[in-house]
C-alpha cells in the first residue's frame, strides 16, 4: 500500500490529468465513502489517483492546466490533511455531484468567500474599518499621487479623480469620482481590487477607507475632519447619485420608429452634402449643382462637395448650360469676393492676413509655390514647388478646379470649384491682392477656357491590373514597388482616381515634371487606368 509520499511523487508527473482527476476522486469518494473513516478515504484517494495516472500515462500533458492543478491539488491535500487531523467529515469538502461525466465540483464556501470581495452600493461586503482625511492624504501622496496627482487632479493623461462638479451638462464634461460616480462603493471596491496600479491587494481596509475619504475631501464633498467607516459608508450620498436614468427608449421611443421601411424614392432629391476628402470614396461628378437649380435658396451654403458653389446670380448661366465651353468671361472680382467666403475659412487675404489652416493668399499671382514664410506645406506641394510650380492664371485655375490634379496628396482638402465662371471670378478677386498679376482674365481675357478636369468617361475606365503590371516595369525603375519613398514618391496603393487624375495632369502638361510628362505623354487612357488598377492593389 503506497504511503503519502508515494502518492505525492507519483502524482507529479501526471499533473496534466490532475484537473480531471480531482473531480473523479471526489465523485468516487462521495459516492462510496460519504460517512467513511477519514484515514481510509485518504488511502482510497491515493489509490484511485494512482490507478488513473497509470491509465492515462500516454495522455499529453497540458502545461496550462498543470500549474493550476498543482495549486488545486496542494490545497486539496492540505484540507484533506486538516480534515483527517480533526477527525472531521469530508463531505463538506466534496459536495455530491450530479454531473454524469463526474467532472469538476461545486466551489467550496471558503473558496467562494475568497473571491467574493465586491462591495455593493448599500455597503454590503464592506469589511470593518475606518479612515480619516488626513491619514488618507498621507497614503494617497505615497501610493496614488504619482499618477493621480497630489490633489487627485491627475498627472498627464492619468485619470482625474477630483473636480468637474457642474460640468456634466457641458459639451466636454469632466467625469470624476466626485462629479460623476453615483455610488461611493464603486470607489472603495475599485481601489480595493485594483489599486495601487501594479500592487493591488497591498492596501489594508483602513487605508482604503482613508483614501476614499481623501478623494471625497479633494472633491470638496466633505470637510477635513471627515472620517469614513463601514458604519457611515452607506449613508453618504454622492453628488451625482440621481444623475443616471433607466434607458426606457425601447418602451417609449421604439414604437415611434416602427413602420415599414422605405425602400425606394424615399426622398425628393438626393445630393451629396459631404465628401470624405482623404479617402475619396465619394464619386466625382455626382451631386446636384445648385447652379443648375435657379430655385435654390439665396443664402450661400458651403458644402465640401466641390461640385456645388452657391450661385449669387443664378439666372446668369441659364442661357449657358455648359459654361466651361463658352468664351471665358472677364472675371467679376465682386462676385469673386462673395465666392471667396468658401475659401476664407482656411485662407486669409488682405491687409494683415497671416497663415491659418492654409497659407495666406496675398500676392499669390506670379509667386513660386509653397513660398508663404513660415507655413508648413505638404510634402506634395513642396515637391511640386521644387519642380518649379509657379502660381499663374493657368496653374491656379487648374489647382482650384481640382487640387489633387495638380498636386497629389496636398493637404488642401477641397474638392475643387468646377464651374469655370466661378474660378474666373475667384481669380479676379485674388488678383486684387497681387502686386504683379500675370495672365489674369481682366488683364488679358483668355479666349477659350480650358477644362482641366478628367472626363467622367475616362475616370470610369476600369483598368486591367495584368496589363498594368506589364506597364509598371516603366515605373519601377524609379518608383519602388514596395512603396518605399526616398526622393521619388511612392505610387503604390493610391486610390485609382487620384492616380488617373495625376497622370492625366502630367499628360496635359498641367503638372510640371519632365520625366513624368514624358512618361505620361505616350500612355493611353486605358493604359493609365491599367497602371492605376495595378498599383492600387499592389501588396
Amino acid at each position: 500500500m503506497p504511503g503519502r509520499d508515494t502518492y505525492k511523487n507519483s502524482a507529479l508527473p501526471a499533473l496534466g490529468v490532475s484537473g480531471l482527476l480531482l473531480g473523479t476522486v471526489f465523485a468516487v469518494s462521495s459516492h462510496d465513502h460519504g460517512e467513511a473513516d477519514a484515514t481510509v478515504l485518504a488511502t482510497q484517494i491515493a489509490q484511485k489517483e494512482e490507478a488513473l495516472i497509470a491509465a492515462m500515462d500516454d495522455a499529453k500533458t497540458a502545461e496550462g492546466l498543470a500549474a493550476s492543478a498543482v495549486e488545486a491539488r496542494d490545497a486539496l491535500e492540505q484540507r484533506v490533511a486538516t480534515a483527517v487531523a480533526n477527525g472531521g467529515d469530508l463531505t463538506g469538502l466534496a459536495p455530491a455531484s450530479t454531473d454524469p461525466f463526474v467532472l469538476g465540483r461545486p466551489a467550496h464556501v471558503d473558496e467562494i468567500a475568497a473571491w467574493d470581495v465586491d462591495v455593493l452600493p448599500d455597503g454590503r461586503g464592506l469589511p470593518q474599518g475606518r479612515g480619516d482625511v488626513w491619514t488618507g492624504e498621507e497614503v494617497f501622496v505615497e501610493q496614488c499621487a504619482s499618477c493621480h496627482g497630489d490633489f487627485a487632479e491627475g498627472v498627464g493623461n492619468w485619470p482625474v479623480l477630483a473636480g468637474g462638479l457642474d460640468t456634466l451638462a457641458d459639451k466636454d464634461p469632466v467625469k470624476t469620482v466626485g462629479s460623476y460616480w453615483p455610488h461611493l462603493s464603486t470607489a472603495w471596491d475599485y481601489i480595493n481590487r485594483s489599486m495601487p496600479f501594479g500592487a493591488a491587494g497591498t492596501l489594508t481596509a483602513d487605508e482604503t477607507y482613508a483614501i476614499v475619504a481623501y478623494i471625497l475631501y479633494s472633491n470638496d464633498l466633505v470637510g477635513d475632519d471627515f472620517v469614513l467607516s463601514d458604519e457611515n459608508f452607506a449613508e453618504f450620498e454622492m453628488y451625482n447619485a440621481n444623475g443616471f436614468v433607466i434607458d426606457d427608449r425601447s418602451e417609449l421611443e421604439y414604437s415611434a420608429w416602427r413602420g415599414d421601411p422605405c425602400m425606394s424614392n424615399c426622398k425628393d432629391m438626393v445630393e451629396i452634402t459631404m465628401r470624405a476628402t482623404f479617402l475619396d470614396v465619394t464619386p466625382e461628378g455626382g451631386g446636384v449643382s445648385v447652379m443648375n437649380h435657379a430655385a435654390a435658396s439665396d443664402a450661400p451654403v458651403f458644402t465640401q462637395d466641390g461640385v456645388v458653389l452657391q450661385d449669387i446670380d443664378a439666372s446668369a448661366d441659364q442661357d449657358a448650360p455648359t459654361p466651361a465651353l463658352v468664351t471665358a468671361p472677364t472675371g467679376d472680382a465682386e462676385r469673386g469676393a462673395s465666392l471667396y467666403e468658401h475659401c476664407s475659412g482656411c485662407h486669409q487675404i488682405g491687409e494683415g492676413a497671416g497663415d491659418g489652416i492654409g497659407p495666406h493668399l496675398n500676392g499669390i499671382f506670379d509667386r513660386a509655390a509653397a513660398q508663404a514664410e513660415g507655413y508648413r506645406y505638404s510634402d506634395g506641394l513642396q515637391r511640386a514647388a521644387d519642380g518649379g510650380l509657379i502660381w499663374d492664371y493657368t496653374t491656379l485655375d487648374a489647382y482650384i478646379e481640382d487640387p489633387r490634379a495638380l498636386v497629389s496628396q496636398t493637404r488642401m482638402s477641397f474638392a475643387g470649384v468646377k464651374q469655370q465662371r466661378d474660378r474666373d471670378d475667384l481669380l479676379a478677386y485674388l488678383r486684387l491682392f497681387s502686386a504683379d498679376p500675370q495672365n489674369i482674365p481682366e488683364a488679358a481675357p483668355t479666349a477659350v477656357s480650358i477644362d482641366h478636369s478628367v472626363a467622367p468617361e475616362v475616370l470610369a475606365i476600369v483598368g486591367d491590373p495584368a496589363y498594368g503590371e506589364y506597364l509598371s516595369g516603366e515605373c519601377t525603375s524609379c518608383h519602388q514597388a514596395s512603396g518605399a519613398a526616398n526622393g521619388i514618391p511612392s505610387i503604390t496603393l493610391w486610390p485609382t482616381e487620384d492616380f488617373v487624375i495625376a497622370m492625366h495632369a502630367y499628360k496635359e502638361g498641367v503638372r510640371l515634371h519632365p520625366v513624368m510628362q514624358m512618361m505620361a505623354e505616350r500612355l493611353s487612357d486605358e493604359e493609365i487606368a491599367a497602371l492605376a488598377a495595378y498599383f492600387q492593389q499592389l501588396e
Partner: protein, 422 residues
C-alpha cells in the same frame, strides 16, 4: 533556407575549383531553362523578372562571377565623397531566396550555340532554352597607345565599379598639392555617356576640398559630349580655372600614355601627371564575342525583344548590344531587360507579350545638390530601338530645382536597386 539542388549548386560552384571533368548540370525535366550571363542592371533585372513573373514555370540560372556587385552608376558619387562604397554594393541572396533563381558565381567562358549550353570557368556546362547575355563592357585593346589592362593599377580605368574605383579614389586623395589629374575620355559609343564628365565634376569637387590648387586635364577624342552645356556651366560656376578639356580640334584624339613614367602625350605635347584615369574605347563583354554574335564591337539585336540578329535563342541586353538610339546606361539595361523577360516568357510559356516600350533617364551630379538629368522614351521599330521623345535639364535652373533633381536621383538609385535585387 531550403537546401535544395539550387542551393547546393551555388555552394558547390563557389567552393570547388577542383572539379576538372566537365559535367552537364541541371538537366531539369520539363521546365524550360533560361540562363542569364551577367548580374548587372540588365542581367539581374532579366533574371528577376523572368523568375518572378513565370511563378516557377521557368528554371532561371544567373551566372555572375562577383558575389558582391558594385553598381557603376553612382560610383562617381563615391569619388566625390557623396556615397560610401558599401552603399553601392549588392548581393544576390534575395534573388535566390525569393525567386528560386539559381545563382552561379562563376565566369562564363563559352557558348555552344548548337548544343545550347554555356560553359563556365569552373568546368560546368549549363544547358539553356534561351540565353540572355548581359555582360556589360570590355575594353578595346590598343585603343589608347601605351595602355593595356596590365597597366590598370598604374592608370586605372575605374569603369567597372569596385576595386578600380577605390584605387582611383585613393590615388586622387594622395595627389600632391597642385598636382594634375588626367582623364583620357573614351570615343563613342561607350557606357554611360555623361559618366566621364560627371566623374570630372566629382573629382573636381573632391579636389576643391582637399587640394584646391590641383588641375584636371581631359583628353577627349569627341567633339561634343552628353549634357555638355550643363557640365560646362557647372564647371565654370563651381570649379573655375581647375578643368582643362582638350578636344579633337587640339589633338585630344591623338593620345599616348606612359604608365611607368606617368606621362600623357596629347598631340605630341607630353605632360607629367599624378593620376591618370584612362577610359579606353569599349566593346561588348567578351562572352558576346565568344558566342559569335557580335558585329564589330557590339552585338546587334532586334528591337522588339532584344534577340540577337545572329541567333534567335540568344538575347543581348544593356551596354553589350547594338540596339539603336538608347544610350548605354543602367537604366536602359533595366528597361530592356523587362521587355526581354516578357518576350522570353512569352516564347517559353505562352504568356502575354505586349508591345515593347523602353525609357531611360540619366542623372548626373555636378556639385553638392546640383543635379541634372536627361531622358527619353523609345519604341521598337523594324530596324532599331527608336527615340520617341526626350527632355534635358536646362542651364540656369534654380538651386531648388537642381537640389530636387539630385534628391530624385537618390530615389531612383534605391528604386532601380530594388528593381534588380529585391
Amino acid at each position: 533556407m531550403k537546401f535544395n539542388r539550387r542551393a547546393f549548386l551555388g555552394t558547390a560552384v563557389a567552393t570547388t575549383g577542383v572539379l576538372s571533368a566537365p559535367m552537364v548540370m541541371g538537366a531539369g525535366h520539363g521546365r524550360p531553362k533560361v540562363v542569364v550571363v551577367g548580374g548587372g542592371a540588365g542581367g539581374a533585372t532579366a533574371a528577376r523578372y523572368t523568375a518572378k513573373d513565370s511563378n516557377g514555370e521557368i528554371d532561371v540560372t544567373l551566372i555572375e562571377p562577383s558575389r558582391q556587385y558594385y553598381t557603376c552608376f553612382f560610383s562617381n558619387l563615391y569619388l566625390g565623397g557623396f556615397r560610401s562604397i558599401d552603399s553601392l554594393g549588392h548581393s544576390y541572396g534575395t534573388l535566390a531566396a525569393n525567386y528560386g533563381i539559381n545563382v552561379v558565381h562563376d565566369w562564363a567562358t563559352g557558348v555552344d550555340r548548337d548544343a545550347k549550353t554555356v560553359a563556365t570557368a569552373g568546368g560546368y556546362t549549363i544547358p539553356y532554352d534561351r540565353l540572355i547575355l548581359s555582360p556589360g563592357i570590355d575594353f578595346v585593346d590598343g585603343s589608347v597607345a601605351g595602355w593595356d589592362v596590365s597597366a590598370q593599377n598604374a592608370m586605372p580605368h575605374a569603369y567597372k565599379a569596385g576595386s578600380q574605383t577605390e584605387l582611383l579614389k585613393a590615388q586622387i586623395e594622395s595627389m600632391p598639392q597642385g598636382g594634375v589629374y588626367a582623364m583620357v575620355a573614351p570615343p563613342n559609343p561607350y557606357r554611360c555617356p555623361p559618366g566621364p564628365y560627371e566623374r570630372v565634376s566629382m573629382v573636381a569637387h573632391l579636389l576643391s576640398e582637399i587640394n584646391p590648387t590641383a588641375k584636371i586635364l581631359i583628353a577627349d577624342p569627341k567633339e561634343e559630349f552628353s549634357k555638355q552645356g550643363l557640365f560646362e556651366e557647372g564647371w565654370n560656376k563651381h570649379y573655375a580655372g581647375m578643368i582643362d578639356r582638350v578636344g579633337p580640334d587640339f589633338g585630344g584624339d591623338i593620345v599616348e600614355v606612359d604608365p611607368s613614367a606617368m606621362t600623357v602625350s596629347i598631340d605630341g605635347e607630353v605632360t607629367k601627371v599624378d593620376v591618370c584615369n584612362v577610359i579606353p574605347a569599349m566593346r561588348a563583354g567578351s562572352i558576346a564575342e565568344m558566342a559569335g554574335i557580335t558585329e564589330g564591337n557590339w552585338a546587334p539585336v532586334n528591337a522588339i525583344d532584344l534577340s540577337s540578329k545572329m541567333d534567335e535563342n540568344i538575347h543581348v541586353l544593356g551596354d553589350a548590344c547594338a540596339q539603336g538610339d538608347m544610350p548605354k546606361s543602367g537604366f536602359s539595361a533595366n528597361s530592356q531587360a523587362k521587355v526581354c523577360a516578357m518576350s522570353v516568357r512569352g516564347a517559353l510559356t505562352g504568356s502575354n507579350v505586349f508591345p515593347a516600350r523602353f525609357s531611360n533617364t540619366c542623372w548626373s551630379l555636378i556639385n553638392t545638390n546640383d543635379g541634372v538629368k536627361v531622358g527619353a522614351t523609345y519604341e521598337a521599330t523594324e530596324e532599331k530601338i527608336a527615340k520617341v521623345d526626350g527632355f534635358i535639364s536646362q542651364t540656369g535652373e534654380t538651386t531648388d530645382v537642381r537640389e530636387a533633381t539630385y534628391q530624385e536621383s537618390i530615389g531612383w538609385y534605391d528604386g532601380i536597386a530594388a528593381d534588380m535585387f529585391t
